[in-house]
Amino acid sequence: MALRPIKNLKEFSTANERLEGAHLLCPGCAHSMIVRELMNATDDNLVIATNTGCLEVSTAVYPYTSWDTSWIHIGFENAASAISGAEAMYKARKRKGTLKDPDAPVKFVAFGGDGSTYDIGFQWLSGAIERGHDFTYICLDNEVYANTGGQRSSSTPVGASTTTAQAGRVSYGKKEKKKDIVAIMAAHGAPYVAQVAPNKWKIMAKVFQKALETEGPCFINTVSACTTEWKFDPKNTIEVTDLATDTLIFPIYEIVNGTELNILYRPKKVLPVEEYFAAQGRFKHLFKPENRHIIDQIQKDVNERWEYLQRREEARV
């Protein structure tokens, strides 16, 4: 596989222009940073399937396409199945000798938002991982149904206000915990699973390369800060993401072969979670006196989670 050197961001980020700039994603959306980084991580040909969501509706509006690579979108839930089919077809045609260029290196990738990954496409993803297709699934996790205007998903964290889990006079927003998708995917026995964030671009690029190089199904959860639904200034995407990783709300780690957990980023200074909350409108109501206890509870949960990940890392099981 042809991997790109990961040294200089400017050089890396302009290596391959396979997602053309004229797309319709919001200014400040992290999706395009993540997608471009994946596409820049390799010079191999890419076959990409994308679930319905912000990325899809913003990049393939007829008669235009932003994709300078093979790309398919079927429905909200089935990119993992679509890529399974494409990968199976590649194997069959390679064996039968019917490929136009049988030696062309190719990687199969699927993208989905958290709505299509954690919720509606969960079964399709689980099936594709279980079957062991050679592909990488990347979840662009912005913790909300952003494309349809900000409804809760099972990735939405406790305390966030969404249009279907609203903060109000008697509600502090979403009450249910975010689903631990990384653990679930690791439990499938996938050879490589990780969670990364675009502010730590070198780590993210290396993780993408590792996933693309690994034979079999790999799952990467990427934190994708959403300026529109998280409610922050579009210029602050990376700053908000810094707060996500440095408060340990989003720990960055990988799990190899379902058991070997490695923490990939340790903040020099761990920040209190309220700094992350204070930067986003969706958590504004948590600072009301009657909701402060939610922040305290989340801080406790984050601390415990970090402790758990470190123990898992030490234990190597």
Binding site: A60, I72, A86
Partner: protein, 411 residues
């Protein structure tokens, strides 16, 4: 290279095995499937072929029918031959993706063993699933027995993959009545069958990296209508290719197929229009009635349900006085779908026959020759009276009080 299978001149196959053999002989590149009664043996038989070296392609057993059709679309967009099988609830779960497959103009073949749709849960054959696919943009062909299930499946690849068509194709057979009934089937030998189907011709494929393609774009009010209009035209235009393929198949095998199959219609005064195994039942009834009572009865059957053979139906029924259209699907607050199609076709002809509708055989309820005869005789009574003497829609074979809806307006 896959092993070849030596077949006898006459094999004893049920409809499921016949369909599975056709998939094997077409050397499908990817079969992505999920089992469901009564089509399960199609994928089981295929699984046997895979396990014993008779298949070179990939066999992907997915976690649902929705995923099966989704994987089929992904595979088809990657430029090879694709097929799957399903029934009933599985068909219903696939429906979202059926529309996406036809909208993306990817050829693939779906073999359907027709079965009733719940609730109540029922595994037996009716045409509820087939009807649910009628607006999905697929070519839909209907086999009345195992031989036809085999023949039409081979034809399906050739039709759908033709550069003038590029649409997905369904081949229907009746659940259990065809799918599980062992019958004599005259197969082609492997080489002969493959030569007929031909090599797959990739077009706009995702694995040709010299020319990237985008599948599944979004269109709103600015372009959606034009896409759908073209797709509709393509489906109607596929009729000519279907005729060509049937003609070629006849040259090869001597077996003749037409988009509308007419039986004893030359001088028929009354007719039954039906789909599936019922066609054969009605044919027996027509023959017997002609001998026993001199009633000039005939049978008309759309071999191709989509594109609907509007003109051929008009020709087939040009001279009859009364027609009973049999729908094996619960119409739920409307006339039967086939009745509506036939009525629409005949309304624009100089001969507007008296057309009535029978809902029959739901959930696998038997439809005997005696009932077909009774229906023919009722048509004869309409013909003699010159008007419909019964309710326009009746239920045939249901227990309880007689069910009928709507009378003819005579003034």
């Amino acid at each position: 290279m896959a092993e070849k299978m030596q077949l006898n001149e006459v094999e004893v196959w049920d409809g499921n095995l016949a369909a599975a053999q056709a998939l094997r002989q077409a050397q499908v590149d990817v079969v992505a499937a999920y089992p469901i009664t009564p089509s399960t043996p199609i994928v089981e038989n295929y699984g046997y072929f895979v396990a014993n070296g008779y298949v070179d392609g990939e066999y992907v057993m997915v976690e649902s029918e929705h995923a099966a059709m989704s994987a089929c679309v992904g595979a088809a967009a990657a430029g090879g031959r694709v097929a799957t099988a399903t029934s009933s609830q599985g068909f219903m779960l696939m429906i979202e993706v059926l529309y996406q497959a036809s909208g993306m103009r990817v050829p693939l073949v779906l073999t359907v063993a027709n079965r009733a749709v719940a609730s109540p849960l029922n595994v037996r054959g009716d045409h509820g699933d087939m009807y649910a696919g009628r607006d999905s943009g697929w070519v839909q062909m209907d086999a009345f027995n195992a031989q036809e299930a085999y023949d039409l499946t081979l034809c399906a690849f050739k039709i759908g993959e033709d550069m003038r068509v590029r649409l997905p194709v369904m081949v229907h057979q009746d659940g259990f009545l065809t799918s599980h009934t062992a019958q004599n089937v005259h197969p082609l030998q492997d080489d002969e069958a493959y030569k007929f189907v031909g090599d797959y011709k990739p077009y706009e494929e995702m694995l040709d990296f010299s020319k990237p393609v985008t599948y599944g774009a979004q269109t709103e009010e600015d372009w959606h209508f034009e896409h759908k209009a073209r797709q509709h035209k393509a489906l109607f235009d596929s009729a000519a290719v279907i005729d060509e393929v049937f003609e070629e198949f006849k040259k090869l095998t001597g077996r003749e197929y037409k988009r509308v199959e007419s039986y004893m219609m030359e001088d028929a005064e009354v007719a039954i229009v039906a789909l599936g195994t019922t066609v054969e039942t009605a044919r027996v009834a027509a023959e017997e009635l002609r001998k026993e009572e001199g009633i000039k009865a005939g049978v008309v059957a759309p071999r191709v349900f989509r594109p609907f053979p509007f003109n051929e139906i008009r020709d087939a029924l040009a001279n009859v006085k009364a027609v009973a259209v049999l729908d094996r699907s619960a119409p739920m607050g409307a006339m039967g779908a086939l009745f509506n199609e036939i009525s629409a076709a005949m309304y624009t002809t100089p001969n507007r026959p008296l057309i009535t509708n029978f809902i029959y055989g739901l959930g696998g309820r038997d439809f005997p020759v005696s009932e077909a005869k009774r229906i023919f005789k009722e048509q004869k009574a309409h013909a003699d009276a010159g008007y419909i003497t019964t309710p326009i829609q009746q239920f045939s074979g249901v227990r309880g009080p007689k069910l009928g809806f709507f009378e003819t307006k005579r003034s």
